[in-house]
Symmetry: C2
């Protein structure tokens, strides 16, 4: 299997799961946000960018693989508006290049790391994969729904076998981007106050990265034989944790008791943030997966990892 | 108003409607498929391509406009697989450039010519705008759903006022691409037999271009005042016409009686073709629009136009 973005947070944890199962792994990473130290020495590493690299590099990396798991992406939702072309280039155009290199090498199985951001402003108690046609709220979400569409078109047109995972707020070891690391950094700097975007009530059915990569593996296994298909799976937990509760867990781990100050923005922490996302995960549960770690515990583990000697990124 | 693709089939008919209402119009067209003779001399014409032109051309063309109506696109669904990057570049990346030039010039009202292809494989008696999250079937559909997402993100992030129209199988004067012109050309060449893609049963709620441009105008007027929004409208007729019936109408106008031969493909005429599309048009009817021409009559008019001295494109 070839894993793009395999030196990143989710990608590298997925690679480690593959290696634990004895699977040969190639990794493509441009090390924009990925880290060399996250890459197990057993993988065949391509220091390359799927967007900018000559096609020949992708052809070489994909040649002979059974699956491509495509994680390389711009994963920052919040700052999309500052660089309005960035998401489309890094996510949509890059995925288009990956798909076409796969077509040229005859690799037809792809897992794509999508996002619950594609649900845009959908407001449902639990959002299923086939919720009403969503209206996007971010350039990130728009770029990822475009990627999903490309996969589906390659399924229809070139008989690709495509599996899409959608999730929200992943935490765990190697987490280097998002609210938990922001809180931890801020509190190391000033343990007496914590500035929080939004009103603190935003809540997501977040997930521990080890549970997530098991879910990805389950979805791939389910679709590894039989006729080619196009399948989308939500992967998430059954309850939400609010930003305020997340902050309280970080504080507890750090043994600090700051005053919480809120930006006060209603309706999400920033433009394009859906204030409440709880995924309906019936579909992936039906194929035998369930999370083993509740979100609050995952946030605790994440904070502990951030503060551990192993993590040097604060 | 600035109309991109304003020398094309739908764009130029829309421009003529605007001119009939005394509206000042700028047209941007790259004349890849647009025609000089479709452009009324009263418009301010920019011979330019929104994708490849330096940004400065777009800035000049948009400067001082109240609305941009963005029609420039690759409108060919069928051959997307032969050039897998083409739709994403011509449609998604191009729309991204249009939106960003609008942002830079402070023009915040956009009409976007989308397509019922974004409904992918959805199978419903009548497809409403908020049907279940569709699975794309073509690179064209994927590229257009991406555009819609970009508009929605610009609405959310930059307070754009965005109106999206979705339609299928537009026919009428200046129609230069699709099954009706294909049939007419083939029958001029050989009036005794007609080769038809699919099994002839594919059916769409097609629309006469004059009805369509009135619908676009209605949607724009409805959203021309008040707070900025993001609104999607299906624009179509209430009944479908099958490919076989279309062919029969063309034959009747041409006074020929060929044997119909079918490619025999089930499930649509080509990969990515939804075999049955009937749009739910409740939303646009609720704001005062309805079609005046039934599809069979529109196909008749189209064939007559194709055969008229005015049309020199056969």
């Amino acid at each position: 299997m070839c894993v793009t973005g395999g030196a990143g947070f989710i990608g590298s944890n997925f690679v480690d799961l593959l290696l634990s199962k004895g699977i040969q792994v190639r990794v493509i990473d441009n090390f924009r946000t990925g880290r060399y130290e996250f890459v197990d020495p057993r993988v065949e590493l391509y220091n390359a960018d799927v967007l900018h690299e000559p096609n020949s590099v992708l052809l070489k990396a994909f040649d002979g693989c059974d699956w491509v798991a495509h994680f390389q992406a711009n994963a920052d939702v919040r700052h999309g508006l500052e660089r309005p072309f960035f998401d489309i280039e890094q996510n949509t155009v890059a995925t288009s290049k990956v798909l076409d290199a796969m077509r040229q090498t005859g690799v037809k199985n792809i897992f794509f790391s999508s996002t619950a951001s594609v649900y845009g402003g959908v407001q449902m108690d639990r959002i299923p994969e086939d919720c009403p046609f969503p209206i996007q709220q971010s350039l990130y979400g728009a770029s990822k729904v475009a990627c999903e569409g490309l996969l589906a078109a390659y399924h229809e047109g070139f008989d690709f076998n495509a599996v899409v995972g959608r999730w929200v707020q992943v935490v765990g070891e190697r987490y280097l981007h998002g609210s938990i690391i922001d809180f931890t950094r801020k509190l190391l700097n000033d343990p007496d106050r914590l500035y929080i975007l939004g009103d603190g009530t935003q809540e997501k059915s977040g997930i521990y990265v080890q549970d997530l990569v098991r879910g990805i593996w389950t979805a791939i296994q389910e679709n590894n034989t039989g006729p080619s298909g196009y399948e989308v799976y939500n992967i998430g937990t059954d309850s939400t944790v609010s930003v305020k509760e997340s902050a309280a867990i970080v504080c507890d781990v750090m043994n600090v008791d700051p005053v919480f100050e809120y930006s006060g923005r209603k309706n999400g922490g920033w433009v394009g943030d859906n204030p409440r996302v709880l995924l309906d995960t019936t579909k992936i549960k039906d194929i035998g997966w369930k999370p083993q770690t509740i979100v609050s515990q995952a946030i605790r583990k994440t904070t502990e990892w951030l503060l551990s000697p192993e993590c040097t990124y604060l």
